[in-house]
């Protein structure tokens, strides 16, 4: 049902959907005139620094704050017991993840610290510097306890059980099985297998976690400036846990300096700030510094997966079997839970391919390390690396070109709707067309010829592919059904002002991906006004419709659809009034470029501003019973599919220096099908940014822990993020398979790049190393690991 927006008529006025319109809010950002939380100052503002545990596991004994309290400018010190009186604990489990368990958590712990960096006390002072001085002087009598830091032994009887009341360190396990897996392996023509590792890493948002909470005792209202992706969710969290009515809590997102999922979670130290604000009745600010970010932002992607694949003599996959183990922190993170990443691995492995027999197991275990949770592409990079790694092994075993092997096994275009062996429902994907497009874009035969020519000269380049699926536009099946107060619907209010200006208030939020831009495009086109008449309001729970914020690639598909429907409703309301004023029929009229026009001749009949003037100031001149709602709100939720799955395929072209193990990324390609594209420029840049984030995990990023649970590389010098000199140019292409779930037809695109990049790089490295019979499966693919695979240097 996509007739309303006709992609063919891109030249008619206000046809902004599908156009690369620049972002309206970029202008202030390039002049340094944005407003991030740390830029917000309120009268009588105080600052927080936390005393953080230096032990991975320890009893918290006596806390001596006498020296700290004496410093000029220090106002208060809070420990767990005081905050606990003002805050409900939380437990991060989801009912539909059967058997999942986790321990209750408070803003500051009462008895034990369970990871290095866990906040155990809060100092409030006139400045951050003084608060840090005081925090350094707080003397805590810790009694160190044995720590559980090896996920392979977390469930051994001899292992330290982090929460004795839970009985063991198992958070969640799940077996997802279909068909006859053992028979398929027994009957296979060839079986390939490998053990894959994904290294624990983290988001490293450039703007750190930031919160400013202000409680007005007189009005009983809590106002929180929060660098978050989900302000309404946080409104609910603060209300529930601080025992306030939601109507008395306002969460405001100003500009957010990057989040990628890191800032969609509930952090105990941030809740502590809100509780402190409520106790002290004045504004309290906490900006995490970089050391705190490494220690207490959520980590992700710490997995060991044993995988095997069975193929028949014709090169068809007959079975996939994986066993995933992942080590999270000592608590599951609220409210999304830390079991979802493992759960998505078992849902997504094998995703692009047609085969019948599937078994995937995940075991999620607690550790005394930084808690983990959803981070860009959640589970997809791991599932894709395992799947595509096995695919390349199988292709190699059968001496088939990796593209040819994929062609024989990808789900066929036009074979939809269908359900994957893992149980994922696909409405419509384009794996084959995407692969064809990619192969043409990269001139695959030319690269193979180049590779051959250079190999003869001792220069080793590799080509790696990764087909992938990606879930977007989530329904309540992701979180809501499990009891989490996470909204899968979203809303938009569109309002015409007397001069014809249009305001669109949306429940989806902006962190730089261009949410405000696409809402503006959609509303301008839907209403029929020039794009610069439209202003977008996001990120304020008081002034926007109740929504879910931005995560799991839902902004365009869900938020955009609500905006489209609201804009169309405004247009309909305008035309109804216009028809009355012009003594005609609404369907003989249309809106174009801010004018009411004749639907057929396109002759302008009346400016919108004139109609609005009459409605707002001279309503007496209109028929008394005429509806005249120039402000319309619509909410949207997906109907039939738990997710709008998208698909894509990536390729990496790189060179391995076999003497040093160093990798040079020469070029990267991605063909992405995210349904209807609202703004090609923004989508391409989301894909690029996502790819580089995936390349970071593939080559550089690793949270390295000691045997005692100390994070060894908690600085920007030692935790390696991708920088400009090592990153390749990235060519992006598209196929568009719109979803029929909405008028807009848009699916999401923000995480696709990250989903496929590590797999493409892994396969390219192994392709380069083929003459040496060397293979790598453990990310990040460091020079040390590559040299070890080549037998040139023993690893530690």
């Amino acid at each position: 049902m996509n007739e309303i927006i006709d992609p063919g008529s891109v030249d008619r006025p206000n046809s902004y959907i599908g156009k690369s319109v620049p972002r309206p809010n970029a202008a202030k950002l390039v002049e340094g005139r944005g407003q991030y939380v740390d830029d917000v100052l309120l009268p009588r503002l105080l600052h927080v620094a936390f005393v953080r545990s230096p032990h991975a596991h320890a009893k918290i004994g006596n806390l001596d704050a006498s020296a700290a309290s004496r410093l000029p400018g220090v106002r208060r010190l809070f420990t767990g017991s005081e905050l606990a009186q003002h805050c409900e604990p939380w437990v991060a489990v989801l009912a539909h993840l059967k058997g999942m368990k986790s321990a209750p958590q408070l803003p500051l712990p009462l008895e034990r610290a369970t990871w290095v960096g866990e906040a155990v006390a809060a100092v409030v002072a006139d400045s951050r510097a003084v608060a840090e001085d005081a925090a350094a002087k707080v003397a805590v009598a810790y009694e160190p306890l044995p720590a559980a830091v090896d996920m392979e032994t977390a469930l051994d009887p001899a292992s330290v059980v982090i929460h004795p009341l839970l009985g063991d360190n198992l958070c969640f396990e799940r077996l997802n099985e279909t068909g006859k897996v053992e028979e398929a392996f027994a009957a296979a023509h060839r079986v390939v297998e490998a053990t894959f590792h994904s290294g624990r890493h983290t988001g490293a948002t450039l703007e750190p976690r930031s919160i400013l909470a202000d409680y007005n005792r007189a009005s009983g209202k809590l106002t929180v400036y929060h660098s978050t992706q989900a302000p309404h969710m946080m409104q609910g969290v603060f209300a529930k846990h601080l025992r306030l009515a939601e109507g008395d809590v306002r969460v405001i997102c100003t500009d957010v300096g990057g989040s990628y999922g890191i800032k969609v979670h509930v952090y105990p130290d941030e809740v502590a700030v809100a509780v402190i604000a409520k106790i002290m009745g004045r504004p309290i600010k906490f900006i995490a510094d970089r050391l705190e970010s490494f220690l207490s932002d959520i980590h992700a992607r710490d997995h060991r997966i044993k995988g095997r694949m069975a193929v028949d003599a014709q090169g068809h996959i007959t079975a996939i079997d994986i066993d995933d183990l992942t080590g999270i922190g000592p608590y599951s993170v609220y409210p999304r839970t830390s079991a979802v990443e493992g759960n998505q691995v078992v849902n997504l492995v094998g995703g692009p391919y047609a085969f019948a027999n599937f078994r995937a197991k995940t075991t999620v275990v607690f550790q005394n390390k930084t808690p983990t949770c959803q981070y860009r592409a959640v589970g997809h990079p791991i599932a894709t690396a395992v799947t595509e790694g096995l695919v390349d092994l199988a292709a190699g075993a059968l001496d088939l070109d990796p593209v040819e092997f994929r062609r024989r096994n990808l789900m066929k275009d036009g074979s939809y709707p269908r359900t994957s062996p893992a149980g994922m429902k696909f409405e419509g994907l384009s794996h084959e067309q995407s692969l064809d497009t990619l192969v043409a874009m990269m001139d695959y035969p030319a690269l193979r010829a180049e590779q051959s020519r250079l190999r003869a000269q001792g220069v080793h380049r590799g080509i790696g592919f990764a087909s992938f699926i990606e879930l977007t536009n989530p329904s309540p099946f992701m979180y809501g059904v499990g009891g989490a107060r996470i909204s899968a619907q979203d809303g938009c209010t569109v309002r015409v002002d007397p001069d014809g200006s249009v305001l669109a208030a949306t429940g989806v939020t902006e962190q730089g991906q261009g949410t405000e831009a696409i809402i503006r495009q959609i509303v301008a086109e839907a209403v029929g006004v020039p794009i610069d008449w439209v202003r977008v309001l996001t990120g304020d729970t008081l002034t926007t419709p109740y929504g879910g914020g931005t995560w799991a690639c839902r902004g365009a598909g869900i938020g955009g659809e609500a905006a489209l429907q609201a804009g169309l409703a405004v247009k309909q309301a305008v035309l109804r009034v216009a028809a009355a004023m012009l003594q005609g029929k609404p369907d003989a009229l249309d809106m174009s470029d801010g004018q009411i026009v004749d639907a057929v001749s396109r002759q302008p009949r009346m400016p919108l501003a004139e109609l609005a003037r009459i409605v707002y100031f001279r309503g007496d001149t209109l028929p008394p019973d005429l509806p005249r709602e120039l402000m319309q709100t619509r909410h949207f939720i997906t109907k039939q599919y738990p997710f709008a799955f998208t698909n894509g395929v990536q390729a990496s072209w790189l060179e391995v220096d076999i003497e040093t193990g160093m990798i040079r990324l020469i070029k990267h390609w991605c063909v992405e099908d995210c349904g209807r594209i609202i703004n090609p420029l923004l989508v391409d840049e989301q894909v690029r940014g996502g790819i580089v984030q995936g390349l970071g995990g593939a080559l550089y990023e690793h949270c390295l822990y000691s045997e005692t649970g100390q994070l060894l590389n908690a600085s920007m010098a030692d935790y390696l993020v991708p920088m400009a000199a090592e990153m390749p140019d990235i060519e992006v292409g598209h196929v568009e398979t719109p979803t029929k779930e909405s008028l807009l037809g848009a699916k999401g695109a923000g995480e696709a790049g990250t989903a496929g990049a590590p797999a493409a790089v892994m396969n390219a490295i192994n392709d380069a190393l083929k003459p040496f019979g060397a293979k790598v499966f453990a990310q990040p693919f460091t020079p040390e690991r590559i040299l070890a695979a080549l037998g040139k240097a023993k690893p530690r």
Binding site: P22, R23, A26, A27, K28, L29, V30, E31, G32, R33, G34, Q35, Y36, D38, D39, A129, G203, A204, T205, L206, E207, P208, D255, V256, G257, G258, Y260, D289, R290, Q511, G512, Q513, G514, L681, L682, E685, R688, G689, G690, I691, V692, Q693, S715, M716, A717, V721, P722, M723, A724, A725, M727, D729, I730, G753
Partner: protein
Amino acid sequence: MSREVQVTFEVNGEPVSRRVEARQHLIDFLRLELGLTGSHTGCEHGVCGACTVRVDGRIVRGCLVLAASLEGTKVETIEGLSDANEIRDLQDAFIARNACQCGYCTPGMLLTAAALLDSKPQPTRAEIREYLAGNYCRCTGYHAIVDAVEATAAARARRHKQD
């Protein structure tokens, strides 16, 4: 001996005289004392480049400079460059090419790109990447930034030819 220092210098062309805590770095001074919040900290240990500003015409890591040490110097921030229209073309290129997403790295990135184009008006893509290699961006993956800088250099060359 006091832990505070009286210091006088110029910020964006305006004289500034303050008594500062000795330990305060330039970025905290700009943000807290002068309300110039366009300069950001991302790490406070000199690695991420978000804090890049100009002192006496040269780019520096503002988080590695003590405000107290700046007596008699000229400091320029993104706000000053913007008000003087010095890098309007570079800023417009960033907007057009979507080389600015969340915007947090952008002031530091622009200061660094401006320094590059001052020292080497026609850099290759590799030279752009190398010069910007000390400025962390998590959103863009750098490709769009390189395009925007390259496009600005090319446009300047064209304008230069016409003059």
